[in-house]
Amino acid sequence: MQKVMVCVKRVVDYNVRVRVKPDGSGVMLDGVKMSVNPFDEIALEEALRIKERGANIEVLAVSIGVADTQQQLRTALAMGADRAILVQSDQPVEPLIAAQTFLALARKENPDLVFLGKQAIDDDANQTGQMLAALWERPQATYASKVELSGAKAAVTREVDAGLETIEVDLPAVVTVDLRLNEPRYVKLPDIMKAKKKPLEVTSLEALGVSAGQLLKVVKTEPPPQRQKGVMVKDVAELVDALKKKGLI
């Protein structure tokens, strides 16, 4: 095991309440706080823990996005990644194109493992890891809550609808991570200073031979239908009456 690649996405911060633009052309992003996708932080943390368990590996953080995505890659470097690559793109990149881009990077870097979050909290697509694994013709272990490495194999416990499932994959493999895999570390100030000196390479889709483009056309963005606030009941008896009247219990 020599190299782990972690894909991180710049997204609207978890705590921001996203609002739709009145003209329906998208969501309001001006001046909104941006962060590393929380699932990708967990992905990076897992890579760092593998490194800290004594494996002599390089942790490479990669991203696709606008120039300011360097901020999120600096965060990744401050957490402990050794090196970063930004594939700069001014247009948002759909999952299939993101997967093609990460494939190009994987072919260049030959990582033993690629970690990604199971989904990004902006488009909630839940596709990129699976697509990368398909294009790379390698195994995928999605929704990981435990990753155990042994030689050229990994046993991955996955959070599935029925509970937990364990699969074994040959390396190299793509692992997408779920919430309970680990708790990402906080970045300390000295690490932020150190991160400024770590290498961060900027490249482009063209340089990697990936064609940009829009595969799905977003015609309209709307706010979701709102539920009406109901009534407050004063006690349990009134609640039971109300539910019985509606035939719910």
Partner: protein, 312 residues
């Protein structure tokens, strides 16, 4: 005409209800001719269940030993081999479908529409983004196979009464061996399945411990409900992961959802907003859950739940 293939989800014995919900979605595609494919080592009686769903033209049965467990790496090349006969390939937005469908899409070199919640045309759909804070309408290229996962909470299950032809298929596809099933652990329970239950009782961090969740189980058993949990409760170890409801857990649409000690973070609300009726029980009268609840009750859950159990 659209030719739609639905990837049926099953456990070797029964068809998962998510499949019947995908079927309702497929029927909304104009002039759809619908087939369901079932992959398994021995799908046994499952094809008969799928064939009984109303509105299905054909059920394709692909039995081979490698299909014993639903591994995306094994299933995807087989679906890719079937895809040329279809304009649309749909899977459920369950952990099975979410794992599998993007692998199919990438092998076909086409994009995927995730969590399709409404059909506006053969290639025009609505889906949620930002934890349901926005709904987008997307258009896909009719020249390409349309791959999508169906947000099952947005569709009612299709009824039975159909009589589709069942056809066994053999596919000449070499399957990878780099991915192997090891085992599974599920909290076996006699309670209704969370994703399809008519009633759901769900607990949050305010429950305080796994032990305290027992009062929810007791109450749920009395009313025949499934039990769910907020992310906070699952993270705290009060409930297992399969009980998590929300943006990154299960998206459900029961007739009644009873949220107990759940404050109502947006990520949780996105998992329940298709519930017909929401009941909120919380000691904090300002909790956001009350903004979406049809019935709200402010008070101590440790007094309210036993009393509820007594009165229903």
């Amino acid at each position: 005409m659209s030719k739609v293939l639905i990837i049926g989800e099953h456990d070797g014995k029964s068809l998962n209800p998510a499949t019947a919900k995908c079927l309702t979605c497929a029927k909304a595609i104009p002039e759809a001719e619908i087939s369901i494919v079932l992959l398994g080592a021995d799908t046994a009686g499952v094809p008969t269940q799928a064939a009984a769903l109303a509105g299905v033209k054909a059920v394709l049965r692909i039995d081979r030993p490698e299909n014993e467990h639903a591994l995306a790496a094994t299933f995807a090349p087989q679906i890719v081999a079937l895809a040329p006969g279809f304009t649309h390939v749909l899977g459920p937005s369950t952990s099975f479908g979410k794992d599998l469908m993007p692998r199919v899409a990438a092998l076909l070199g086409v994009p995927q529409v995730s969590d399709l919640m409404a059909v506006e045309g053969a290639y025009r759909f609505r889906r949620p983004i930002y934890a349901g804070n926005a709904i987008i309408t997307v258009e896909a290229d009719p020249a390409r196979t349309l791959i999508a996962t169906v947000r099952v909470a947005s569709f009612e299950a299709a009824g039975t009464g159909g009589g589709a032809a069942i056809e066994s298929r053999t596919l000449e596809v070499t399957l990878p061996t780099h991915t192997r099933y090891v085992g599974a652990k599920s909290g076996s329970t006699d309670r209704p399945d969370l994703q399809t239950a008519r009633r759901v009782v769900s607990g949050g961090r305010a429950l305080g411990s796994a032990e305290n969740f027992k009062i929810l189980y007791q109450f749920a058993d009395k009313i025949g409900a499934a039990v769910g949990a907020s992310r906070a409760a699952v993270d705290a170890g009060y409930a297992p992961n399969e009980m998590q409801v929300g943006q990154t857990g299960k998206i459900i649409s029961p007739e009644v959802y009873i949220a107990v000690g759940i404050s109502g973070a947006i990520q949780h609300l996105t998992g329940i907003k298709d519930a017909r009726t929401i009941v909120a029980i919380n000691k904090d009268g300002e909790a956001p859950i009350f903004e979406v609840a049809d019935f709200g009750l402010v008070g101590d859950l440790f007094q309210i739940i036993p009393e509820l159990e007594r009165l229903v």
